[in-house]
Structures are given as C-alpha cells and as structure tokens.
C-alpha cells in the first residue's frame, strides 16, 4: 500500500509539473518583452578574484587552518552567488537569442546561434561549478574551480555584444573608450 501511495504522489506531482509547463509555454510569448532588463550586470573582476587559484593558495599559506576554512566558506558562498547570476543571465540570453533566430539577416542568425551555444555551455558549467561549491562548503580545503564559468561568461559577453551590435547598429557600442 505504501508503494502505491508513493507512486500515486509521484504521478500527481508529475501531472502538476506537466500542466505547469503547458501553461508557462502558453504565457511565454507575452512575457518575453520584459526579459532584457532582468539581465544582472556582473562584476567580473571580483568574480575572477574569488575563483583565482593563486589567491586560494596565498590564503591557505597565510591563514591558520580554522580561519582559512571560515574565509574559504565565505568566498565559496560569494562565488556561488556570482555563478547563479551568470547562469540566470545565460538563461535569459538563450531566450533572447532564440527570438533573434527568426531574423532575416544571416549574420544575426549566426550570431544568435553562437550566443545560444555559449549560453548553454555556460549554464551547464554553472550547474557543475555550483555542485562543486556545495561540496566545497563541506570540505573548504578542496580548491574551487570555476574557471570554465568565468571563461564561458567572457565568451558569452563577446557573443552578446556581437548580437547586440547586429540588432541595433545605431546604438553606439563603446569598444575603444575606457570607462
């Protein structure tokens, strides 16, 4: 009987999920306009510093073991926040790029494809990096390796820039002006 209850609960939850997916798909078109403002800018320098292996090694050498673990946990939590934001940005960019695939301009379509590829890779790497971070919170001495996320985010920047320029050639894109 217990087995029957477990399976019935599983089936009901699955049905709710399926209905939710169906409804959200129907509402997807109307909500797509509000996507772009949801992209959160990321301080890549701070992110780079957090996942820098030499920084880890330096802290490991300089700090007492207990203090290192405490600091490392804080750094891991901060890195997790950055990785979550980069993953969310990647998800939004996938949707934006999918809309751009409908363009009649072949260059825009190609840029959109590259953006989708980069965003999906980043989202995949972000999921793995988050898993490693959650393990790292239990064993802070394990080094944090979020470099693929960082590199992926940088690649994503380039792809998003290219698509942005192709879609809005009139908008001044500042490449050579230092801010």
């Amino acid at each position: 009987m217990t087995l029957a209850i477990i399976l019935v609960v599983f089936a009901v939850l699955a049905l709710v999920l399926i209905l939710r997916v169906t409804v959200s798909r129907a509402l997807q078109v109307s909500s797509s306009d509000s996507l772009a403002p949801r992209i959160e800018p990321l301080d890549v320098d701070a992110f780079r510093n957090l996942v820098d292996a030499s920084e880890n090694a330096y802290l490991y050498r300089r700090l007492p073991a207990a203090e290192f673990r405490r600091v490392q946990r804080e750094r891991l939590r901060a890195a997790a926040a950055y990785i979550r934001v980069s993953g969310q940005n990647a998800a939004i960019l996938v949707t934006i790029a999918q809309a751009a695939l409908e363009s009649s301009d072949s260059q825009t379509v190609e840029a959109a494809r590259q953006l989708i590829d980069s965003a999906l890779l980043l989202r995949r790497n972000a999921a793995f990096a988050l898993l490693r971070i959650y393990v790292g919170l239990a064993w802070p001495t394990i080094g944090l390796s979020a470099t693929p996320v960082l590199l992926g985010y940088e690649r994503l920047n380039g792809c998003a820039m290219l698509l942005g320029r192709l879609q809005n050639p009139t908008v001044p894109v500042r490449i050579s002006v230092r801010s």
């Binding site: 087995l3 029957a4 399976l7 089936a11 399926i18 772009a36 998800a91 995949r124 820039m161 942005g164």
Partner: protein
C-alpha cells in the same frame, strides 16, 4: 453505465483507438509521419494492438489464457513503441543544440538506467494483486513501464526548462499527451498492482484510463493537426547598460 461491457465502456475502449488510427493516417498523408516515424507506428500499431485486445475480450470463443497472451503482446509492442517515441522527441529536441546534446544523452541514459533499477526494485516489493501469475505480472509490467516512461518524460521537461530550450509544437504536443497518459496510468496501475482494489473500483479505474486515453488522443489531434497561432517573435534588444559592461570586459580582454 459505469460497468464493464456497458455502452460507455465499449465506446471508451473503441473510440480513442479508431481516432488514433485516423490521426495516424492523417499524419502520414500530411507528411508528418516522416518527421515522427515512431509516433506514426505507435498511432497505428498501438491502436491495432489495443483493438485486438478489445476483440479478444468480447469474442466468447477466446479463452482467458489467449486473452492474456494478446494483452501481453499488445502491451510489449506498445511499450517499445512509446520508448521509441520518447527517443524520437529527445533527438528532435537536442539536435539544434550541439553544445549540450552529449550531456543530454549521457544524463538521459543514466536517468533511464536508474529508473529501470528503481522500477525493478518496486516490482520486487509489490505484493501482487492476484494469485493468477500471468495477470499479476502483466499489472507489474504496466507499473514498471509507466514508472520508466513517466520518469523519462519528466526528465526531458526539467532538462529543457533548466536550459530554456525551445520545444517545437509537434514534439511538445506528443510529450504532453504521453505525459498525461503516463501520470494517470501509473497512478492506476500502482493501486491495482499493490492495493488489490475491489472489482467495481477496477472497472472505474478502467473507465478512467480509457477516458484519459481519449483525452490524450484529442491533445495529439490538437497539437499535431491544428496549426499554432502565428506568433511573430519580437526582437528583444539587449539593454545598453549591459552592453557597456560587456564592452568594458571585451576591452580588458583585448588589452591583456
């Protein structure tokens, strides 16, 4: 009315299968069968198998042993075809995204293996609803197939939602229909195989299953034959402030 061999019972058993065969013919004529050959086979062979089971049930000369043989054959063919359909949709969903196609394949294989293991364990723990082995095993096979099927469908939905993959209308409709059918059937077979309900409750479950199947056939009709609303995807511009941030980053990279 809510009894075995009532008019409602006959209608609910026969109608969805005839409609499904009709859908298969229409898909074949419209060329959609070439895009989804496994689904076309499922529509035609699955329905023919179910109709054969129906005939075996109502023809008095068919012995109970032969009825269960027909039931088993139909169940095995239908199950294989369903998994082929899921594979077909999976392949169609991931083909436009080569960057995660390999990960998807690895995960779906792992998920499938785990589901088979879990379903086998659950079948092992099931107490069986009848002393007649062939019937109890058929019920357990139904439960096992629906656990694996529903697990794979949910995995696909979750994976696609996580990566924000876009479903095409046909694949989405097929999966919604299979998903709804699998949810209802899993719940019903789990109760039948593990809780030994009364004969009347079994008949009610049987009618519920047939009605759900009819609903799923209507879902497939809607998604596969009715064209979707022509939605023009509006260009979503990237915000300038973000471009400025990205530009800064690119500049930094160029100067490294």
């Amino acid at each position: 009315m809510l009894q075995a061999h009532s008019i409602l019972w006959h209608c609910l058993w026969v109608a969805p299968n005839l409609l499904f065969v009709l859908l298969g013919v229409l898909l074949w004529r419209r060329g959609i069968g070439r895009i989804f050959p496994a689904f076309l086979a499922f529509a035609i062979l699955g329905s023919v198998g179910d109709l054969a089971t129906y005939l075996a049930d109502i023809i008095p000369s068919v012995t109970p042993d032969n009825f269960w043989r027909v039931f088993w054959a139909s169940l095995v063919i239908e199950s294989v075809l369903k998994f082929l359909v899921i594979g077909e949709v999976f392949s169609r969903l991931f083909t436009p995204y080569p960057s995660i196609a390999r990960l998807g394949k690895t995960l779906v294989s792992g998920c499938g293996a785990l589901l088979v293991l879990a379903a086998a364990v659950m079948a092992g723990f099931a107490r069986g609803d009848t002393m007649i082995r062939v019937i109890a095993r058929a019920h357990l096979l139904e439960q096992t197939v629906f656990i694996v099927e529903l697990g794979l469908i949910i995995f696909l939905f979750v994976f696609a939602a996580y990566f924000h993959l876009s479903w095409d209308r046909l694949s989405f409709g097929i999966m919604i229909g299979l998903g709804v059918s699998a949810c209802e059937h899993l719940a019903v077979w789990a109760i039948i195989a593990n809780a030994s309900p009364s004969e009347h409750v079994r008949t009610l479950f049987s009618l519920l299953g047939m009605a759900t199947y009819l609903l799923c056939v209507f879902i497939w009709f809607y998604y596969l034959l009715v064209p979707g609303k022509a939605t023009v995807k509006t260009k979503i511009s990237l915000p300038e402030n973000n471009l400025a941030v990205w530009n800064r980053e690119l500049e930094r990279l160029l100067q490294q």
